[in-house]
Amino acid sequence: MKRFWCAFVLAFVLGGSLGCGSRAVPLLPGTEPTYYALKAVVALGTVQSAAIGLNGIPVCAEAVPPAPPVCHPLLSDASTRIVVEIVTDSALTLKATPAGWQASATAALDRIDARLDAADKPQMKVYTAAARGVIALIGVNP
């Protein structure tokens, strides 16, 4: 009887611990590419939002009175435009062809990293790296 109850308790504990894993997102067969493309678009959108946000941060040199301070955006307009154009193009491509989501999204990040001004690359590096991490996990951990 004691052995029975021990086995019973063990079964409950194991069953509970196995059931406490991450909840998989249910997907209908055939919808995976669109779902993954959607998540990739979200990741790329975050990169664009980050670029626009950084472009809105002014960095000002110390003023020498009476001259006003000279300010420039943390991320240059030129680099921000590059990010916006690449992300927008990639998002439209993903909408048209969701099946190629991983290649399209990764290629967009590669183009951003390659075309940014040298001075601006450090600013965007962490955001493109984060997006790469997200895209790498999309198909693995839906």
Binding site: F12, G19, T34, L38, T88, K95
Partner: protein, 64 residues
């Protein structure tokens, strides 16, 4: 003995309930249809395009 069982049940009950709810959500939860995903994807792309266009409108490209 009964007290021990009751104590164990108190500890295990939340785990069992969570496992059951996870199972129920995983197997009986509604999955998005292709149409729903298409709409969501189109909406996400539209938001990105709109954000980009708004920024470009506020920052016209300087003449070459």
């Amino acid at each position: 003995m009964i007290a021990l069982i009751l104590q164990l049940a108190q500890v295990l009950a939340p785990m069992i309930i969570t496992a059951y709810e996870d199972h129920k959500a995983g197997n009986n939860g509604a999955a998005p249809t292709q149409d729903e995903l298409n709409v969501a994807l189109a909406a996400a792309v539209s938001r990105i395009v709109a954000e980009g266009e708004a920024w470009k409108a506020a920052h016209p490209k300087p003449p070459a």
